[in-house]
Symmetry: C2
Subunit: 277 residues, 2 copies
């Protein structure tokens, strides 16, 4: 077994869930009374670290969204580094950075995320071709999650031509990922959206052992029960991601920290795929 | 006229060239005797700033490749910020970051590059769909260069199915960009590769006024004369990019700084598209 999958499996069993918590730290949504006089980068880091402290019992993995750090400008990656270090070594960290570039540039992204920040996994954009994945594929303890089919309306433009995905770029890609994964030291997983579960079966059948990263629950309206039913017969170890509904729960009662804990607890119970992992 | 195009036009006339210099600062290729005792981030910034000082008379634009900064880890974006500031206000700066994500995440990338770093243009990856471009399109002084057709072998996987690109995703994308550009405040340009000039005409005809960013000269072997001939009848203001051949010229004679100046001077003269811009 790939050692990334092993680490993820241990973490998932520990919390009894397939919940991945997406860290999208939006300065305009952080509670106003939380460190109001601190610098933006310090508020952002402290907010993420507080979320992590509150939600550790419920999260199989964390997925910091690099864009929300980059919006800080110059301090972006020291802030990102602080949060990754705070999460620590036992819960897998997936950098949601959606990188993709030719070989000599791809190697720099690999150095950045796998070596300098030491995250466990990276989301990768395959538009420029299968050769752009190669720089990431010799890292036994790591994974990439390749963008196969996302939840936004624009996923119809290039990933899938229409609801019939059988001739789509996304399905061609899925088959190529499954094939390449057989000889890859790095696990090759996939990002697939949750908002249209009916589209998923051909992808699950084409890459039978992929770890799936499935965003779209909560604010984006993905149907958890439908997706969980589909996953029951898939061999990969899935992660179902919730970001905004846990970080910024809409609940006028109670302190925001209690609301975060409640939201994480509810989603953690709800997003459990029971097929023996 | 879009004010980005105006700024680029002034800069291009000033140096009499369409040369864009790509800043790919690779620590393993920076001359060993250049600040050997400094921290990696300081060496990297000083090297880029030296390249900029040496090549200002020859460059219509600079294209820092964000990946090479990210490889620094935590200090990545303060280093990037320093180099962007050093280039200053009159020569356009294109952040080669190839970002692409759904709306609320795309907005963070837009804030990072257009607002926090204040670059003039950003390369953007369209795989997730046309809606992912929207966050960048209300910035009158800015441009995006969308990845349409790259030079690497993998460009055959999803961008173009084969040498006949008439039914390709890349050409469909080009038509959509041309249409969207008519009502966009931000200029919508395109990245197209130089290594196969014969593939370019349908793209030039489908987006007639796009500023083109054309990598692939020098180390990647693009045919400059063939590309320049094709561009003579296109209405966009093109940038032809050289990175490694200027930053790391292979020439055992002379000091490396002289070699950089010579290489920039030669490429600057060679990469001039004469169609009245």
């Amino acid at each position: 077994v790939n050692s990334y999958i092993e680490k993820l499996s241990v973490s998932s069993k520990r919390c009894g869930s397939n919940l991945c918590i997406g860290l999208d730290p939006d300065l305009s949504r952080i509670p106003h009374d939380f460190l109001p006089h601190s610098a933006p980068e310090d508020r952002l880091v402290a907010f993420c670290n507080t979320i992590v402290d509150l939600t550790r019992p419920f999260a199989a993995a964390y997925k910091p969204n690099v864009a929300f750090f980059e919006a800080l400008g110059a301090p972006a990656f020291s802030a990102f580094d602080s949060v990754v270090k705070h999460i620590g070594g036992t819960t897998p960290v997936i950098a949601d950075a959606k990188r993709g570039d030719i070989g000599n540039t791809g190697r720099q992204y690999r150095i950045a995320f796998f070596d300098a920040f030491g995250v466990d996994a990276l989301t990768v954009n395959p538009w420029m071709g299968m050769d752009t994945l190669e720089p990431y594929l010799d890292a036994p303890g790591k994974a990439i999650y390749v963008l196969v089919l996302t939840s936004n309306p624009g996923s119809a433009d290039f990933m899938r031509a229409d609801e019939d995905t059988t001739a789509s770029a996304a399905l061609k890609l899925t088959r190529a990922l499954h094939e390449r994964n057989k000889s890859s030291e790095t696990h090759i997983g996939m990002v697939v959206g949750a908002t249209k579960p009916a589209l998923l079966p051909p992808f699950l059948e084409a890459h039978t052992d992929a770890s799936l990263l499935i965003p779209g629950f909560g604010a984006q309206g993905g149907d958890a029960d439908a997706v969980i039913n589909l996953l029951a017969t898939h061999h990969g170890l899935p992660l179902l991601n919730v970001s905004r509904d846990i970080l910024y729960p809409v609940n006028p009662d109670g302190h925001w920290k209690d609301n975060v804990v409640n939201a994480a607890s509810i989603w953690s119970k709800k997003l459990l795929v029971s097929h023996g992992h």
